[in-house]
Symmetry: C2
Subunit: 245 residues, 2 copies
C-alpha cells in the first residue's frame, strides 16, 4: 500500500475542529467522505493534530494508506475540486511506510492573531480576536519569554485534557505587530489541550494587570490551572507549521 | 430633526445586498431594526448605494433623520454592540439638513480583489475572486485605460438595469499587484447596474484572448451588452470610498 503525506489549510469557522465526530462535522468527516468518492475506497485519515472548533490551519498535515494508483497531482486537483471553499489541499507526496502525520511530527508552530483596531473589522471577525482595549505588546513579549524552555505545563492545560506527562518544551514565543494586527508565534515539541489559548489568556491578564508581568514562573510552578488566565477564544488560533525530521 | 451621516463597513457574504427587502435580509433590514431599538423610533436609512448580494463595503455612507438626542459617540458604540460581527459602524456626525447619502454623493471608488495563488485560499474564499489561471496584470492595466473618461456604458450594464441616461465618467481604473492579490481600483461619478463586474469580466476575457487587448473602445461604441465579457462574481467587489463635496 502507498502511504501519502498531504498538506492542507482550512478556515475552521464552520467546523467542529479537525477530529471526525458522529453528531457534528469535523474537517476529517468532510475529507474522508470526499476522498472515499475520489479514490473509490474507504479511507482513514491520520491528522497531525486535533484542533478545536473554530481554530484554523495555515498548514496542517495528514497521512493515509491507500491502494489507489492515483498520481499525487491528480489527487490534489481532484480533491480540491470536491472540497468546499474553506478547505484547500496544498500538496501531496509519497511517504515512507512508517510515516504518520501525528507520531512523526517533531514540532509545531501556532500563531494567535489579535486585531487591536478600535472599531471592529467585519472581515476579520472569525479570523482574529478583537481586542480594542490597548495591548502593550512589549510588556507581553517580555512576559512570554518565561514560557520558553522545558516545563510541566499542567497550569496551562484544560482540565479535561490532563495526561500523565504534562512536560513540554517551548522553543520560542514571539510577539509581532503589524499595524492593527498582533501575532503571537509559538513553537514547541507538543502542546497540551487548550495550552496556547490559556497562555494567550494569561498574557491578556498580564496586559490588564490581573497577573504581574513576572508572574508566569510561579503559575507554572503551581501546577494549578486556576492560577493562569482565561482560555482565549478559538477563532484567533491557527496551526501555522508542522515539522518533520 | 437632526440629519445624521454615518460611515460603516460590512462583509456582504451573509446578506442579500444593502437594500431592504421583504423576503430576504439586506444590510438595511438589520440596520433599521437595530437603530429602531436603539433610538426608540422608526428609522428610514438612506444608503449611498445599492450593493449586490455578496458584495462588501470597506466604506459605506448612510444618512437618516431622527428626533433622538443621542450623542453621536453613543450612537456608534451602542449600534456596534447590537449589530452582528460582520457590520461595523465607523463614525457618525451631524450633517446639514439637505445632506442625503445617495444624492449628495459626487463620486465612488470600488476595488475588485482577485487572488491569483495557485492553490485556493480558504481565508479569502468569500473575499476575493480566485483566479489561478495566470493573470497578465500589465496587459489588463493597459486595456483598462480605455474605460477612463466619459462614455455611454450601455454595453457594461446588466440588462435589468438600463436607464435613459447611461453616460458615466470614469476618473481612473488602476491595477495594483501585491504578491498573490491583484486589486482593480475604479473611481467614477456613478456606476450602472453590474457595471464594474462586467468591466472586470471583460478584462478577464482580454486576459484569456477572447477579446483583443484594444477591444474596449469598440465594445463601448457598440452599446450592446453581449459584446462585453461575463459579469465577474460579486464576492471580489468592495465599495471602497464615497466622496462628498
Amino acid at each position: 500500500m502507498r502511504n501519502l503525506k498531504v498538506y492542507m489549510s482550512y478556515r475552521g469557522t464552520r467546523y467542529h475542529g479537525f477530529q471526525r465526530q458522529d453528531n457534528a462535522v469535523g474537517i476529517q468527516n468532510v475529507l474522508e467522505r470526499m476522498m472515499g468518492k475520489l479514490l473509490n475506497e474507504q479511507v482513514t485519515v491520520n491528522g497531525c493534530s486535533r484542533t478545536d472548533t473554530g481554530v484554523h490551519a495555515n498548514e496542517f498535515c495528514f497521512s493515509f494508506l491507500t491502494n489507489s494508483t492515483i498520481p499525487c497531482k491528480n489527487f490534489v486537483r481532484g480533491l480540491n475540486s470536491m472540497l468546499p471553499e474553506d478547505i484547500a489541499i496544498i500538496s501531496c507526496e509519497e511517504a515512507p511506510e512508517d510515516f504518520h502525520a501525528r507520531f512523526s511530527c517533531v514540532a509545531k508552530e501556532y500563531v494567535y492573531k489579535i486585531c487591536i483596531s478600535e472599531s471592529k473589522n467585519p472581515f476579520m471577525s472569525d479570523l482574529a480576536l478583537h481586542y480594542p482595549y490597548g495591548l502593550d505588546t512589549e510588556l507581553i513579549a517580555r512576559s512570554a519569554l518565561d514560557f520558553v524552555g522545558t516545563h510541566d505545563f499542567t497550569s496551562f492545560c484544560g482540565t479535561a485534557g490532563l495526561k500523565e506527562d504534562n512536560v513540554r518544551t517551548i522553543e520560542y514565543f514571539k510577539v509581532e505587530k503589524d499595524e492593527n494586527l498582533v501575532k503571537l508565534l509559538v513553537k514547541g515539541n507538543g502542546f497540551l489541550y487548550n495550552m496556547i489559548r490559556i497562555m494567550v489568556g494569561t498574557l491578556i491578564y498580564i496586559n490588564e494587570g490581573k497577573i504581574p508581568p513576572d508572574g508566569i514562573p510561579q503559575i507554572i510552578a503551581a501546577l494549578d490551572r486556576t492560577q493562569a488566565g482565561k482560555t482565549a477564544p478559538p477563532h484567533g488560533l491557527y496551526l501555522n507549521k508542522v515539522f518533520y525530521e
